[in-house]
Symmetry: C2
Subunit: 347 residues, 2 copies
């Protein structure tokens, strides 16, 4: 897909690093008042006089985190930003800036990197964050993307992972497991394509799953909604490695246990039908499939009335005391300990 | 060197990501008051109520930026931090935090990564910066290190690249070209070793050059010294790509020209003798060799008396008006335009 031998494409070597950076970043405009100086000096200059600054960083590696055979570069750029904004949101903060560094092998052209940056631009515009810096270098193999996201939050609003209290309710946004099954569907189609390069992918009945995999959204909307509802979670984390793993993080850091109810875990009908087709248990996928980028948080029971009518939220369990381990209460009412399998090790 | 097949070494796969991060970061202690929360949540939380925040990021790729055949991992860790602190210093700022992300192939062991992190720790301790986050992932080939550095500075002290004025003096710290010749020496020894693996490297007469290559220091001391001397540069940049390239950046962004005097460029005697041995012109190396991590800045002539007696500084030229191009005045008094060759393209 991207090993383009079309001679009208621009070789990166002919361009040089400075021209490449200029080209890739020319359409980015800064919009946040906290951005005093963006790209173009030794460092960016930011101003956060009243707010606290939150910072998170992620590395995406070709062949480990993405496969360009079925990931359009524009989507990859968008997703690379979302993955990081999601961590900022998980602090109850709003992202304001990102830096983006890339290492690329010589099989990439200027045009392919412009595709990648068009996705980055789409994400920065949609989420009102400024691209303020980065690094562009060659690699000996493949594409690596490193994003650092910076956000701001009032001190009183910061939510850590370690504040869950006994009897708090455990709440999750959206639905879980779909991004992982989207990946499974794409991987299967890719195998079919490798055997028969003339085959066309059949994705119509998996559109939701595939979109969840290829174009995740960070839940900035939830941060605003929680503020509007006057709810401050007692703890929060984003669901990137799988629900099970994230619950264990919260419980471990808060020094508590929890009961999670299988029947409460929100899953999409498309996930159910696709899991049946793949002969996989949908609860296993919802628990351990990663890359949902939903928010998992705990709230005081006193706040329950504020969120109960809202379709964005599902109460999936409650916090128990520290002598009990994080557990799943199954549909058949048996109680089994949660295991942090992590999404990389499912298949 | 690092392809260690000793079975007492710990395979990364057996460890898992969370345990690995725990192991690598267990000896880091936060010391800056601006670090409110470091490693361990979705994002770090920082506090800069009175100062401006400066941010810079760099990506180091095995086979492009370093060769592990002659780069000890501890030195590499140290250097990865210095490269980024240097950008912060170039804003006239002091670094306060770093994030470090690594992508590693399975040929690395826990012990080799602990070596890398011992160098990172040495650097963070020596320069009083806190390691506040990062990402650890696998790669399909080699080692990639991504560092983001965060620093602070009073608004009135920020120095950009674009403030050089006509008649300002151009000043550089330390000496130039040595890091590049250190690399040439190491590469030559590595070639000898490949032919005869029993040979011992002969580096005694190149110790300064090799140290400049393997263990560069960012010039935090200069930022303090300039403050003590009550000198605020009109423009500043760090010398990472070569003097020539940096001068052109300053001139272009400040919309001025400059005259650089060949005879004034500070070079070490070891560089001269080694250039003679390699039959290379030492001025070419000083102009285009990279990785010096010295500071290049311009000052008003009124400030000359404050810096003239200080051995850290060398006045190498002056800013001319925008109708003249950045030029080198050679020892034979001819004037030739500077070219931004960049250190990657010298050899």
């Amino acid at each position: 897909m991207i090993e383009d031998k079309n001679i009208s494409k621009t070789n990166l070597k002919d361009l040089g690093e400075f021209k490449l950076i200029e080209k890739l970043t020319e359409n980015f405009k800064n919009i946040n008042s906290s951005t005093e100086k963006g790209i173009g000096d030794d460092a960016a200059v930011l101003s956060f006089t009243k707010k606290k600054v939150v910072i998170s960083t992620d590395l995406l590696v070709e062949g480990v985190h993405f496969n360009l055979a079925y990931t359009p570069l524009k989507h990859l750029g968008y997703k690379a930003i979302m993955v990081n904004l999601s961590d900022i949101n998980a602090m109850n903060a709003i992202a304001t800036q990102v830096t983006v560094s890339i290492a690329v092998s010589n099989r990439f052209t200027l045009e392919s990197l412009e595709e990648l940056y068009s996705g980055i631009r789409l994400a920065t515009k949609a989420y009102k964050v400024d691209l303020i810096g980065g690094d562009t270098t060659s690699s000996t193999s493949g594409l690596t993307i490193s994003v650092t996201a910076i956000g701001e939050v009032d001190e009183k609003d910061i939510v850590y992972r370690n504040g869950a209290k006994v009897n708090d309710l455990m709440v999750v946004t959206g639905d879980l497991g779909s991004a992982y099954m989207g990946l499974k569907v794409l991987e299967r189609e890719n195998e079919v394509f490798k055997v028969n390069p003339n085959s066309q992918p059949e994705l119509d009945q998996y559109t939701y799953l595939v979109e969840r995999q290829l174009k995740p959204e960070s839940r900035k909307d939830i941060i605003k909604l929680l503020k509007d509802l006057d709810v401050k979670p007692t703890s929060m984390i984003d669901v990137s490695d799988g629900l099970s793993s994230e619950i264990i993080h919260i419980c471990k850091q808060s020094n508590v246990g929890c009961d999670l109810y299988e029947e409460k875990i929100p899953i999409d009908p498309q996930l159910i039908s696709t899991c049946e087709e793949f002969n996989i248990d949908s609860t296993t996928i919802a628990l351990n499939g990663g890359e949902d980028y939903e928010l998992l948080f705990t709230i005081s029971q006193n706040d329950y009335s504020k969120i109960k009518a809202n379709p964005n939220f599902t109460v999936i369990g409650h916090i128990s005391d520290k002598n009990s381990v994080p557990s799943l209460i199954t549909r058949s009412n048996s109680k089994i300990p949660l295991i942090a399998q992590g999404w990389n090790s499912i298949s």
